[in-house]
């Protein structure tokens, strides 16, 4: 936390200035093809103060993004604001014409969009896209533009003599500045390691197009140079930057290393995290007072998410930018924002200081959300059925402990390696590198890793959808690579998959009945009547009404489809189910529901699960054993409690640290 003085000063200023953004009774309607109005947002009020992070939390379809887009005047298609007011800096903006909005966007309000993959133009260099933002808003590239608010906060203790003190350093003058700065340091008697250290610090800090004159002077003074000399040097050498400098400066502020070179690259040369940094640079290029970040990191790995948000927090703090942060992750919201707004079905159901809302949720929906959030949960889901309805009495998940030690392995993976040929490369790419583990009967083993860690490749090899380059997978003591014909069919019957994408894994042309019946039909089980009876039974098992039989996948929600996929997997009474990111695409409440279903089924039927996920938080709820993978290699393998309480490897610790909200203390009542 920042020190108490700054904290108080900030708050005093916020009180004095009033809210930067004030949304009152906002109502947004969408018109459907048939002409009906759908109320996407109803009677929603929230406000953002200067320099504050406010989070809007909700499931998909709760109206959180729509509210943000209404503020920006960027409602898609048939959406429009039909009621309420949106005030920016006290000025009503909800009824503005697009032309007037253009003046606000960029310079007053910035946006960091959700999907870094599709929000950068693939045919433009990154630098040009930053430049576009600067040029469109007619930005002065020589001087930093900061709000009075930010100046007052950041300039504390420095007297700013005028606008010229905010002039940027240019790359042309940098070498000379560094040389004379070194001379000045030598003159005041700095030598050896001390001198090198200070110069290294200067080289790192003085980024052309980002470092301002007063900061250079400040750095020199702090290093011991006399005030007058420092200001003399700063005034002589910090005389403004070029467009390229400013672009590189912005990108480097957003945390992109080697920004000048990177600015000349195209989006496809960037990783997801780097693209998101470029989008942050664009969003902040014109120094907006309000930055709207719409799920800025939901497409990224958790460790990258943490780095990017840490950086964004630091940056907006130093610029005095307020952030309206849209997220589906309650833990993330509580960790990052001071104020939380919870939305449900287009309405604000609860809002308040984040910790308070989290620790004492009052609206039943918020309570439900807090209870389901995997990042906040601290132990494995215990099947209610398993313990005769009295889950609370059993704090430890003891049943599987013994089977973990003495149980018989149903799937054993031994020194599994899979190589892929990369286009235009000679050497092979090892997607999976010497991985061994075994799944004991009736337990759940989770494989955790970030994208590209090879975890799905392992799943596909266990399912025999992909042949290993070397190593073996054994099922019930038999090597699966030898399976053919009847034996393979038998193996397929016992090892079933549930895939990640609930929209892709069901054939859209098949009714739900046909989808669930398909495995029975393939394996030639039963006649028409007995199959129908079985489908009914399966639907009942996943708690869906019989009436869905005649429906088609497009009519069901993601969670319902995933339950259908589970019903289909259960149709043949398998021993092992491989869940490849089976709950990743679902909202937390639905995710929680599906996890509980999987858990109940395990308790009831003694199933074994191989659970592939990128989300360590989910692992804690479902797994007995964890395998952590990184770059195709097995990094750590232990019981879930071991991994969470005593992680052995640095990588595992990083993953645990990156769980949003993982460290928040919850006193749930």
């Amino acid at each position: 936390m920042t020190d108490v003085n700054t904290e108080n000063k900030l708050e005093a200023m916020q009180r004095a200035n009033g809210p930067l953004l004030e949304v009152k009774d906002l109502q947004v309607d969408f018109t459907t093809d048939e002409g009906h109005a759908v109320h996407a947002v109803r009677n929603s009020s929230f406000s953002v103060y200067p320099g504050q992070w406010v989070a809007i939390v909700g499931e998909s379809g709760s109206g959180k993004s729509t509210s943000a887009m209404a503020v920006l005047g960027l409602l898609p298609g048939t959406g429009h604001v039909v009621g309420g007011s949106i005030k920016l800096d006290g000025q009503e903006i909800s009824g503005l014409k697009q032309k007037d909005y253009d003046k606000l966007r960029g310079s007053k309000m910035g946006l960091v969009p959700q999907d870094p993959m599709s929000n950068l133009n693939p045919v433009w260099r990154i630098g040009s896209q930053v430049k576009e933002a600067l040029v469109a808003n007619n930005m002065d590239i020589d001087h930093e533009k900061r709000s009075e608010f930010a100046k007052a906060l950041a300039g504390e203790g420095m007297e700013l003599k005028g606008d010229d003190d905010e002039t940027f350093l240019g790359s042309k003058e940098l070498p000379e500045l560094l040389a004379t700065a070194r001379q000045a340091l030598v003159n005041i008697g700095k030598t050896g390691e001390d001198l090198d250290k200070t110069m290294a610090y200067f080289t790192e800090e003085w980024v052309p197009g980002s470092e301002t004159r007063w900061r250079v002077a400040d750095d020199l003074i702090k290093a011991g140079v006399a005030d007058d000399d420092a200001w003399y040097l700063a005034k002589k050498y910090v005389i403004g930057s070029t467009m390229d400098d400013r672009i590189a400066g912005l990108l480097s502020e957003a945390g992109l290393p080697d920004a000048a070179t990177r600015a000349r690259q195209f989006p496809h040369e960037f990783s997801g995290g780097m693209r998101q940094r470029a989008l942050i640079a664009i969003g902040l290029a014109c120094r907006p007072e309000l930055l709207i970040a719409d799920e800025p990191t939901s497409a990224l790995d958790v460790t990258v998410q943490k780095k990017i948000l840490d950086h964004l927090h630091m940056l907006t703090d130093s610029l005095g930018t307020a952030v309206l942060f849209i997220t589906h992750d309650l833990g993330l919201a509580a960790e990052r924002a001071q104020h939380i707004v919870v939305m449900y079905k287009g309405q604000v159901v609860e809002s308040g200081p984040s910790l308070e809302v989290l620790q004492h949720p009052q609206h039943p929906y918020t309570k439900r959300l807090v209870a389901a959030a995997p990042s906040l949960a601290s132990q494995r889901i215990i099947s209610v059925k398993e313990h005769g309805g009295d889950a609370k009495a059993v704090m430890e998940h003891t049943v599987n402990e013994s089977s973990l030690e003495n149980g018989e392995a149903i799937i054993t993976v031994d020194h599994l390696t899979r190589e892929f040929k990369l286009p235009r490369r000679k050497e092979m790419f090892k997607a999976v590198d010497d991985v061994s583990f075994s799944i004991k009967k009736g337990t759940t083993l989770a494989i955790v890793g970030e994208s590209g860690s090879g975890k799905s490749t392992v799943a596909n090899m266990v399912l025999k959808l992909l042949e290993p380059t070397s190593g073996t997978v054994t099922y019930a003591g038999k090597d699966i690579s030898a399976f053919k014909g009847k034996e393979l069919l038998d193996f397929r019957r016992h090892v079933q998959p549930v895939f990640q994408n609930p929209y892709g894994s069901l054939d859209p042309m098949y009714s739900i009945y046909r989808s669930i019946e398909e495995p029975l039909r393939i394996h030639g089980i039963g006649d028409k009547n007995s199959r129908t009876a079985r489908v009914r039974e399966l639907l009942d098992m996943v708690e869906l009404p019989e009436s869905v039989m005649s429906r088609y996948p497009n009519e069901l929600s993601g969670g319902q489809r995933q339950r259908i996929a589970i019903a289909r997997a259960m149709a043949l009474d398998p021993d092992v189910i491989v869940c490849d990111e089976a709950v990743s695409a679902l909202d937390v409440l639905v995710q929680d529901q599906v996890l509980r279903l999987l858990n109940d089924l395990q308790a009831e039927k003694g199933l074994s699960y191989l659970f592939i996920t990128h989300d360590l938080a989910v692992v804690r709820q479902i797994a007995d054993e964890v395998v952590v993978m990184q770059h195709g290699k097995l990094v750590e393998h232990a019981t879930t409690d071991e991994v969470f309480d005593h992680p052995q490897m640095q990588y595992t610790r990083d993953l645990l640290d990156a769980i949003p909200g993982g460290k928040l203390q919850l006193g749930l009542d």
Binding site: G352, L355, Q359, H363, R492, V590
Partner: protein, 322 residues
């Protein structure tokens, strides 16, 4: 942490005090509950519902039903024999029982327009059917097997695509000038026309092949062949049907063009193209002789193109302009 918590409690900024919505305003629903009241909808029934409401579909549908009726039962609309020509009647204007008058040979123009429908329609329908069958087969095989099979078939497609269909048809039809059958023209159209369908079928199959439900099906124990027929092909049909419906009109025009050029159907077969060709020489003096078969051709083509558009909108809602 606790410190900040307390300060927050005491000093929430104006407008940011703790707020809890009254429950009656936002009743909670069961998580992920299902709407059991809505009617079930498959892709086809959805498409049908969209079509039914499209005026384009209704107009073109009625027209096409009429055209098919005329093609099947030309005798209902005219009692005249289109091949009974009396030079005495040459270029006579319309009269009772002969609403469109007579052409240079003294044949009844109305009767010839009515009887020409069957030729045009059967050429269009059969050529389209053949083209779709051949194109889907080649495209699906290429897309499904990939590798060298795809390479060979795709190059073959490219080669045929490079041949102008009109030129190819003229060359081939010259060789079979003596045959009277309309099948020669249908076969020639299929020979040169399958490429566009093949390309689309290949793309659709490639796309459907990579969808997750195929992997899911394989993991359930299904074989590749079963996947192709049960999952991939049904999911690739929509774009193929769209191309088929739209290209039907093209083949009707092509038949008329070839007959006009004299390489199409034999002069003994009544066809709009042939009649347009014959009327060309007297266009200046008796334009109406040319007008009637041309109008029939235009209306038929328009009907099928409108139908194609409507089907496209229904099966591929993404292509609809907002």
């Amino acid at each position: 942490m606790t410190d900040m918590n307390e300060t927050n409690l005491s000093t929430a900024l104006p407008g940011q005090e703790r707020y809890v919505a009254p429950l009656e305003e936002t009743p909670l629903k069961a998580v992920d509950s299902i709407d059991e009241s809505a009617p079930a909808s498959s892709m086809w029934s959805d498409a049908w519902r969209t079509l039914r409401r499209n005026p384009l579909f209704i107009i073109s549908g009625l027209l096409i039903i009429f055209i098919i009726f005329v093609a099947l039962f030309p005798g209902v609309l005219t009692k005249q024999n289109p091949n009974y020509c009396n030079l005495d009647n040459s270029l006579d204007p319309s009269s009772a029982g002969h609403p469109f008058g007579f052409d240079l040979q003294g044949c009844d123009v109305y009767a010839r327009v009515v009887y020409g429908t069957r030729t045009s329609l059967s050429v269009g329908v059969f050529a389209t059917l053949l083209v779709v069958l051949l194109g889907t087969l080649i495209g699906a095989v290429a897309g499904f097997f990939g590798g060298w099979v795809d390479a060979v078939l795709s190059r073959l497609t490219d080669i045929f695509l490079a041949l102008p269909i009109l030129l190819g048809a003229i060359v081939v039809l010259q060789m079979f000038k003596t045959s009277d059958s309309i099948w020669k023209i249908i076969l020639v159209m299929a020979l040169f026309g399958w490429t566009s369908v093949a390309r689309i079928a290949r793309g659709a199959v490639l796309e459907a092949k990579n969808l997750e439900f195929n992997t899911a099906s394989t993991a359930l124990g299904s074989t590749p062949g079963r996947n192709l027929f049960r999952h991939i092909l049904p999911n690739s049909l929509a774009p193929i049907i769209v191309v088929g419906t739209t290209s039907l009109a093209t083949y009707i025009v092509l038949e008329a063009t070839l007959s006009f050029l004299g390489v199409g159907l034999p002069t003994t077969t009544v066809s709009w193209g042939g009649d347009i060709s014959h009327a060309q020489s007297i266009l200046r003096t008796n334009p109406m002789v040319l007008f009637y078969p041309s109008a029939a051709l235009a209306i038929t083509v328009l009907a099928f193109i409108m139908m194609g558009d409507a089907v496209k909108d229904a099966l591929d809602p993404k292509s609809r302009t907002a």
